[in-house]
Subunit: 192 residues, 2 copies
């Protein structure tokens, strides 16, 4: 097959997939998670039921694809934030953004359903590696302690910041980020 043709098929596939995923997301927003059917998704996406089943075997797989898109979008957003400043500012910006995403999540049902999925584990590993690099850079710059491995500090950050989901205001989330960052500070080196 000519390359152009392949590209065009791929683009078509992607468009159908995205339409199905967006339809599912819209239906969840409208009527909650429990009552969605494959027929509704197909109808709303403007495709046949048989076509939908060629892309997704069941509702859970559509929702998983949606969740994957979500996570990919968040990782992209965090990576964008990281492109701008010095190591310490970068780390702070990314942790702020991660806390804010965690705070705003209203996908409790969906998370409970999909949280143990492999795609979530993979995304979490990428996020952890990303934060670990930022922490290591900041430690090399002297603004973060270097007596604790960067991987452990990244694990600490991600767990501490999930507390953002329990915070009742944006101000409280801001304070949480500052407290968490304080934990990363170099240990006092004794009296000067």
């Amino acid at each position: 097959m000519p390359k152009l043709w392949e590209d065009s098929i791929e683009a078509h596939r992607r468009a159908v997939r995205d339409a199905a995923v967006e339809a599912a997301a819209a239906l969840v927003a409208q009527q909650g998670l429990a009552s969605i059917t494959m027929s509704q998704i197909a109808k709303r996406a403007g495709i046949g039921r048989a076509t939908l089943y060629k892309y997704f075997p069941d509702i859970e797989s559509v929702l998983t694809a949606w969740h994957e898109d979500h996570i990919a979008e968040h990782l992209r957003r965090l990576t964008d934030v990281a492109d701008h400043t010095d190591p310490a500012g970068r780390l702070r910006a990314v942790l702020r953004d991660f806390a804010s995403i965690t705070h705003q999540r209203h996908d409790g049902d969906l998370s409970a359903l999909l949280h143990r999925g492999e795609h979530v584990t993979r995304a979490h590993q990428r996020l952890h590696a990303f934060i670990q690099d930022l922490v290591a850079d900041a430690a090399a710059g002297g603004t973060v302690r270097d007596d604790v491995p960067a991987g452990e500090l990244a694990t600490y950050c991600l767990h501490a910041l999930t507390a953002a989901g329990a915070m009742t205001s944006a101000d409280a989330v801001g304070r949480l980020v500052e407290v968490t960052l304080t934990g990363l500070r170099p240990a006092p080196t004794g009296p000067e």
Copy 2:
């Protein structure tokens, strides 16, 4: 009914309940969570099946009771630890112990099954209130920052320390506790 008689019935009930719970725990340790039956629990506890059903309607309720005992035991242990030292030392001792309990937990299956139970929510609220009091005492003593509400700091501690479950050594858990405690330190008050 005379008081003595009531006490004796209550003690008997407690003994039967405990025997069932211990039997269930032993069976889980032996053969995992999936294959346990009510008959096995009754047999191991030395009681009739009909008696067991008077105490527990199903296996999940036995396991929930076991989980409750576990949590109550942990809270008791943490409260004991808290009885010994000054406010800052008390907070450190309790957080160390909580991290160590989190690190040692091997009840992944059980947690997944029971985690959303009401008894876990209640236990979590008691734990949070307990840590919040310790934080408030330490803040009054000047060793913990007082510009962030003690309740928020307690939420931060509990989330940060769940990272202990992801740590691969006791040393790493110790470092996590120190990093978390560093986050509680009073904010620098500017150049002196």
